[in-house]
Symmetry: D2
Subunit: 374 residues, 4 copies
Amino acid sequence: MSQSLIDHRGPQFAQLLKEVLAGLQRVFQTSTGEVILNPGSGTGAWESCVVNTLSPGDRVLGCVNGHFSARFCDTASAHGIEVQRLEVPYGAAVSADLVETQLRADTQRQLKAVLVLHNETSTGVVTDIAAIRRALDRADHPALLLVDVVSSLASMDFRFDEWRVDVALTGPQKGLMLPPGMAILAVSPKALKANQSARCARYFWDWAPVFERNARGEFPYTPATALIFGLKESLAMLEEEGLTNVFSRHARLAEACRRAVKAAGLQLLTRRSEEFSNTLTAVCMPEGFDSDAYLAHAERTLELPLGPGLGEVKGKIFRIGHLGSLNELELLGALAGVEMTLTSFGVPIPLGAGLAAAETYLLQTAPGGLGHGR
Amino acid sequence: MSQSLIDHRGPQFAQLLKEVLAGLQRVFQTSTGEVILNPGSGTGAWESCVVNTLSPGDRVLGCVNGHFSARFCDTASAHGIEVQRLEVPYGAAVSADLVETQLRADTQRQLKAVLVLHNETSTGVVTDIAAIRRALDRADHPALLLVDVVSSLASMDFRFDEWRVDVALTGPQKGLMLPPGMAILAVSPKALKANQSARCARYFWDWAPVFERNARGEFPYTPATALIFGLKESLAMLEEEGLTNVFSRHARLAEACRRAVKAAGLQLLTRRSEEFSNTLTAVCMPEGFDSDAYLAHAERTLELPLGPGLGEVKGKIFRIGHLGSLNELELLGALAGVEMTLTSFGVPIPLGAGLAAAETYLLQTAPGGLGHGR
Amino acid sequence: MSQSLIDHRGPQFAQLLKEVLAGLQRVFQTSTGEVILNPGSGTGAWESCVVNTLSPGDRVLGCVNGHFSARFCDTASAHGIEVQRLEVPYGAAVSADLVETQLRADTQRQLKAVLVLHNETSTGVVTDIAAIRRALDRADHPALLLVDVVSSLASMDFRFDEWRVDVALTGPQKGLMLPPGMAILAVSPKALKANQSARCARYFWDWAPVFERNARGEFPYTPATALIFGLKESLAMLEEEGLTNVFSRHARLAEACRRAVKAAGLQLLTRRSEEFSNTLTAVCMPEGFDSDAYLAHAERTLELPLGPGLGEVKGKIFRIGHLGSLNELELLGALAGVEMTLTSFGVPIPLGAGLAAAETYLLQTAPGGLGHGR
Amino acid sequence: MSQSLIDHRGPQFAQLLKEVLAGLQRVFQTSTGEVILNPGSGTGAWESCVVNTLSPGDRVLGCVNGHFSARFCDTASAHGIEVQRLEVPYGAAVSADLVETQLRADTQRQLKAVLVLHNETSTGVVTDIAAIRRALDRADHPALLLVDVVSSLASMDFRFDEWRVDVALTGPQKGLMLPPGMAILAVSPKALKANQSARCARYFWDWAPVFERNARGEFPYTPATALIFGLKESLAMLEEEGLTNVFSRHARLAEACRRAVKAAGLQLLTRRSEEFSNTLTAVCMPEGFDSDAYLAHAERTLELPLGPGLGEVKGKIFRIGHLGSLNELELLGALAGVEMTLTSFGVPIPLGAGLAAAETYLLQTAPGGLGHGR
């Protein structure tokens, strides 16, 4: 029998769904927010967020500090939202002070929402969402706080309730360590209220039937069942390690990566240490070299999967990802690959220097001291 | 390294994508249509179809002969399209004559599209899309022909080019035998042209960037990579068996199922034999019994996965799916389960009679005669 | 790094091994017996049993009631053991009375062991091991009781401790629901003592180093790690269902199968109902038909996996297996396949009659009555 | 239906077996040798080799240069074979000259076989089997040449036919990249002839029924089907890369590993460069440190899987495996792990120096020059 025809409607699926939604709430660090799962992607999650909370003609403050934050704003524009863009240079975080200034200037309270990325995946920059929340509070502004946590959730500390975020959105393929194919959102009571008056056209993304059917363990559409099964496993892995340990592990590996980059004589795109991302590191390609050509070389010679520069920094940077289930040896193997491929690409760097710096830092910070246990 | 960060951007993925798109074209039986893959679902495929070809305020002819065709029309309505509904009783196919009448009546050529389901999954009824095309032709009407093939593609003969369909849409979880999580569309040149002037708001579903990036082996969003890998396998399986053989197998198993139902003294929802679906069979619950209660009983006692009645026929029918990789023994096992659970639910049917009828038919029609080879 | 070089020597593997050995003890229903795992097969398990407990020139009583019991005896003969064969017709169980007679006749106590199969896989006959034990006791004979439980363990009630079995041997591919590739033995203290004086040449199969290394969570040879991981899963499945429920399920499905066979007008090889196997049913091929030719036909036309007649009953019977994770619908599907392929092979049987008999019995015995829950 | 009951007896399995046996012949580089597959292990392969070619009381020349070669000889001893041991220090290869001397001294031609390891897994030493063959030829001695290729086949060049080996034996878990659980042997016509007169007791391991049943696509015992399916895949991988390329890759990675070890100021156990193994490297633990304690530390702190010293070198060496599907980045990650764990264990080594040496060598020898393609 075609299991697929109905296997997302049985009592076992209902139980699974309940567990997965509760587990995701713990990862979002929320008890008041509701979680929504859609087949989709991060782009789909932007669309779900925008069409469910806003109406054509609405005005929002869009914080842009990289390629993906620009596209989040583009999503809103595509749905008839007027986006007042607060542009920040690539490699910098969004300044809470500037956000506050713009909110204070909005004396008519026309801005319905602030759109911001917790972690700009294109530049490896983390924005202080707690500070953005304080900016909203200080300006006493009622705008919704809509936060992309695609490359931060389950890797860096993100607190939905404490920071009073209204919508946080992500996919399964980063910190949740699954294949892509889903939009995952946490939604505050305030966002749910906004949903009722939001007039953007929507059918597939509409939250209302999802909540109604989820309550019965069902979906109004055919869910991405394989990923929902996968979520059960990845949530169990995160809970076994402990969220705090997961965050520490990412912080430690990220710092090791940055030390390796600096010891190799290369420059980080991000300048301020408090804005360093713990999930990926953007490295400036030395003068005279094109990073896209370098990436093709690294892929061809060592199958090394690095991320390209996007938008304004296309050809100028490359990105090293260090998130998910990564361990020390995998990071060091990848850093060795960067050393080797940069060398064979013609960039003069000292072989082994970056690795030594990373090893030294990892040894100094080994959990439990030198003879660190797991 | 986080493979997932970029593994959908390498040269191997580009090659895979190319093969999968070409394979799907063969399954859609099209050489002129382009294929689009989105993370999503059948509902998402409706939305993709509607927002990419129509504009708010447009009028369309929506053919409604069951629960899913009604929801296809709802999708259009949600996006501000005015849907002129051509309602047909549950259990019947859409009459091409009625379509022709309505199109002829539209002397102003205001109807921009005809929305129709090849196979109504809620009732097990197939509509003759070739006849609908002839109706459009006879009425000399320029409307787009938008066809849902969710529960027919790769199971029943569907000819995108020959029937000059403009959009055909489906998901991976039926005839393509994969887990759900994707919207799959074939798009004609005429639909592509309509896309350029369609003004429905869209970002995630927008076709234009997909075609642009697909040409480079990429996607404008993170694709559902696991399903794209899966498609390669399921396309290979379909090609190995041969589409014609796949269609014959479904037709043969479906007829065996119907004979079993009739031999058990039960009634089919679909009355006209030319409208029988080869992918699922809707069975009328005998007077005095509620089909929802029966399904819960069948699930609880034998984990038998049957489909419920939806919409108007809720509680009145149940549905037996027989599509995908199903073979004779699995069908007979499922039919035995139906016999047993109906009996234990209190419906008086003769045990074994339906099975004997199905077996007899399957033996009579065995490929290669009585000693049928595979 | 080549994980395989040493991954069976770490602390995680030691913990896994401990759990698996304890779980298998529960399945053997023993607290005094030790469990030994070897890469191998049932044939390998015979060899392990023989070379570890006996010496060339020893005499044993070999109970032969089918193909596999004959081969168990052949294993002993190949190692220089003199086998006094107690032959019983194919289709019958081993008579405890005859065993007692032979043991009593052995006034010199020359017989070192009794070799017997709990379930003769070639004929579908179960022998009452408790009765064999009583025969040994009544004869006051010190022979070891060596029992093949290949096709009974974890499907039919087998009590290592209560029946004072000395060696019980099996593989992973039947009741334990795994791929083949292992010899699994439970060994009593008495067998361990015999091991010390047994002089059959052995190195790979030698128990002594296994016990020594197992105590440290290791093996003296490279173990079949994948199967050991698999055992953890299958033991968890058995414990979740409960051994008693597993036995009941097998008994119920087996009786349904036998009723189907009889209702089809066919004859069982086993005549006495107390000797019916609950894991497989041997069916006599009607006069004038060759069962090997029928099996080839069934495999070719419906990919129906039936077992052939072996040894004396080659060409005369076929075997239907019903063990492991089988459920009602899978059994009924298989029985439908038998009905269809017998018919297309030319054997005149009434289609559906066997299925109706099986369905009727399954309904009558449904756990929890007619509306049986799981 | 219990597939496992018979799925190793169908026509599909017969075809699979034929392909796998032919593929293994290519890997053994033989057209005259026959391949035998048994559930088992390397230890089982020794037993299969010994009991099928020799008789109790026979005398053989056993070349011992490490832990595993000693155990190969132990296997023979356990079966009543008299083993004349040619002992060579741990870390050295077997000298063909010494073999020749001993063979010449055997004027009565009492030595029935020479037992030797191509690659001593406990010390990382390769013996020149072609030279051993020449020693046999020069001494004009008829002894069988029985060679353990457990840790060399499919990683280092081994030529069954050219070197006129009589039995070569291995398992699936090294160069064939599968889980353990099998004994794999290639057998020359001369060994087959010896088999007919060999009188060691055997049943499970007996070659005669294997050849008889393999000819019909069957086995006399239940085969390890999962591994046979796996072999099809690993053979395809080896053929895609090409055996010559596989050997070159292993040689290159092994040399990189050795250079890293030396650059770290550590000493290799193997002294002569022509005796270096390309599948694993044995490293001497610096004075004052116990390698077993170090391995426990490396496992605990970084889950680094290193091999221990065995036999005479217990506590004195550790082994780095570099065989199978290993690539540059995995090797470098592992070497980084060795640097870090040695440091945290208190061994004074310069961090990064070994890695730099390995990187430099890998860059110099990159296939296709600096910008090396795959």
